[in-house]
């Protein structure tokens, strides 16, 4: 009995410091924010007061002035996530299935280099590229794509570009891992059963990579919604996102109650969209799967996996 207790004790004790640390400096601060969000800003010099509890700050956060920015942020994040997915899919597919195995490690490392270099500095790199003094602006003005060299920076488009750029590695990596795990034999089997390459990709490879797609979408969408640096560097006044809005409530307006309510709304909105996106991706996958089953059903052999193995070993 005592021996068992002694063995059990360290296990619990070892995690306690981290648990306490994260509770005191992550959970409790967040609970305080949630508490502030039901309060108000008491006059000019105070930052928050919970003397009167109400949902007024939430009503304020949903007022048209602020809600347009919430809507714009949501749209930019959805667009950015979809664009990341479309850009990353072919690249991850190529890296995992077409590149010789000994070169893949290098390519994955190259994808991670930008991810691990300073986020802020990479965004500033785009500011340099898009600036009105830059070569790109000059070229695009000469060609007539933009009317004025100042049209590139400080726009929604610039922020969207920055978002896609900054989170692309987070999309490529899970997709790469997913494609890497797809058994090549299943694709071969699909082709042996007469499906074309395009059909094999959409009905076999892509559905099998679904967990990676879901992981990538979630990993990219959540930080996009809360991004503060990208709009601050590339957006100017036109490219404001919720992050900048919340920041200004805390740093400039000194209205902690309203800023807290906005932060809570941001988190709830993000969670709702993530749940919807996962449901949607599963639903689409399920529909494709059902169609695939029907198609397979008309072909004589009942289980496609058995002939696959024979083909591979032969």
């Amino acid at each position: 009995m005592r021996d068992r207790a002694a063995r059990r004790l360290p296990g619990f004790v070892l995690a306690v410091p981290a648990w306490l640390w994260l509770t005191v400096f992550f959970v409790v601060p967040f609970l305080q924010v949630a508490w502030f969000s039901f309060g108000e800003k008491p006059g000019m010099f105070g930052t928050h007061s919970n003397a009167v509890m109400s949902l007024d700050r939430y009503a304020e956060a949903f007022s048209p002035t602020f809600f347009t920015i919430f809507r714009a942020t949501l749209w930019m994040s959805v667009l950015g996530t979809v664009a990341c997915l479309l850009v990353a899919l072919p690249a991850a597919y190529f890296m995992a299935l077409k590149v010789p195995a000994h070169r893949r490690g290098l390519l994955v490392a190259l994808v991670m280099v930008p991810y691990w270099t300073s986020f802020l500095i990479r965004t500033i790199g785009w500011k340099v590229i898009l600036s009105s003094e830059g070569a790109l602006a000059g070229f695009m003005t000469d060609v007539g794509l933009v009317g004025d060299p100042h049209d590139l920076l400080n726009t929604r488009g610039a922020v969207l570009l920055g978002l896609i750029y900054n989170y692309l590695p987070l999309m490529i990596l899970p997709l790469y891992v997913a494609f890497d795990r797809v058994d090549n034999a299943l694709g071969e089997a699909s082709k042996d059963l007469g499906a074309g390459r395009v059909r094999t990709f959409f009905q076999v490879t892509l559905p099998l990579a679904r967990p990676g797609i879901i992981a990538g979408v979630v990993l990219v969408f959540i930080p996009m919604m809360g991004d503060y640096v990208t709009p601050a560097v590339l957006g100017g006044a036109k490219g404001t996102m919720v992050g900048s809005l919340i920041a200004s409530q805390f740093l400039t307006a000194q209205n902690w109650a309203l800023g807290s309510a906005m932060a809570v709304v941001l988190i709830l909105l993000t969670m709702v969209v993530v749940v919807l996106a996962i449901a949607l991706l599963w639903g689409v996958g399920w529909l494709v799967h059902r169609r695939t089953e029907l198609v397979v059903g008309t072909v004589p052999p009942p289980d496609p996996r058995l002939p696959t193995k024979e083909v591979v070993t032969a």
């Binding site: 002694a6 063995r7 004790l9 360290p10 619990f12 070892l14 995690a15 410091p17 981290a18 648990w19 640390w21 994260l22 509770t23 400096f25 992550f26 967040f30 305080q32 924010v33 502030f36 990353a88 072919p90 690249a91 190529f94 077409k98 490690g105 994808v111 280099v113 930008p114 270099t117 300073s118 986020f119 802020l120 500095i121 990479r122 965004t123 500033i124 790199g125 500011k127 340099v128 590229i129 600036s131 003094e133 830059g134 750029y165 692309l168 090549n184 390459r197 979630v218 959540i222 930080p223 919604m225 809360g226 503060y228 640096v229 992050g243 919340i246 920041a247 805390f250 932060a263 988190i267």
Partner: protein
């Protein structure tokens, strides 16, 4: 398998373009760190002046020093907390692991801005309302802010490393009548060494780059390098910012190369570990 078809060619070209896209701003920053002009965005001839300006400007030196000091302490702190937690998760799983995993997951997915705006009032509550003076110190604030996500990262890496290792060595130690605590220090800790080092170095680079949390909990006098850079986005970016960034970039790449080597030698997959992070 590698039939040279039009599709494969198109995929190859697309992938190349993606890599060009990924590296374009980094190359631009490296090139513009030799910009002789007064403002970063306007190129005005090749010059080494941005690099000499680093030495001349005390603000630049001071903010970089703040960042490096913070990063060292935050990395050590996160490594200590994360190593213990990771070992506990791998070796002593129980009813507590579920909620703890959820906590780590929340720490990892919460946007930094939420951490930042939550920590700012919390430090004010602790430091001013409750008179716990240390929390008014800029270094303390930065170290705490940077340690949160980093602790989760180290925990994941250490846990992944230990789960992949057989527990029989520790059991052997116990069978030979070593008490749990000596077993921990003499057997388990050496086993997780490489993972701790890798996690610690990642925590270091994460802290070095942290912009969002730092800018909220910033105390004047202990402004970190990224916060200084972010503030100069508004006041005017100078070429020496690119110069410092290039130096830090080379430094970070060296650190990452070291992490990759350490992990490779210890046998765990670099890809998996970093993907987790």
């Amino acid at each position: 398998m590698s039939r040279p078809s039009g599709t494969n060619l198109a995929l190859g070209v697309w992938t190349t373009l993606v890599f060009v896209f990924l590296f374009a701003p980094i190359i631009v920053i490296a090139v513009y760190s030799f910009n002789g002009g007064r403002l970063l965005t306007a190129w005005d001839g090749f010059s080494l002046h941005p690099f000499t300006a680093i030495v001349e400007r005390p603000t630049v030196r001071h903010t970089v020093a703040v960042s490096l000091q913070t990063a060292v302490v935050a990395a050590i702190l996160a490594s200590a907390l994360g190593t213990l937690a990771g070992m506990a998760m791998a070796r002593f799983p129980g009813r507590w692991t579920g909620p703890f995993t959820l906590l780590l997951l929340l720490v990892s997915v919460t946007p930094e801005i939420v951490d930042g705006i939550a920590l700012l009032p919390w430090f004010v509550t602790l430091g001013q309302d409750w008179s716990l003076v240390p929390f008014n110190n800029g270094y303390v604030r930065l170290i705490i802010g940077h340690s949160l996500f980093a602790t989760a990262v180290v925990t994941y890496i250490v846990r992944a490393r230990l789960v992949g290792l057989d527990a029989s060595l520790e059991e052997a130690s116990a069978d030979l009548y070593a008490r749990p605590i000596p077993t921990f220090f003499k057997v388990t800790l050496p086993l997780v060494g490489p993972a701790v080092l890798a996690g610690g170095l990642l925590a270091f680079t994460l802290s070095l780059d942290n912009t969002v949390i730092s800018s909220f909990i910033n105390v004047s006098g202990t402004t970190s390098w990224p916060v200084y850079v972010l503030s100069s986005v508004r006041s005017g970016l100078k070429p020496e910012i690119a110069a410092v960034s290039t130096i830090l970039l080379v430094f970070t790449l060296l650190v990452l190369g070291l992490v990759a080597r350490v992990l490779k030698r210890s046998g765990s997959s670099v890809t998996d570990t970093m993907a987790v992070a």
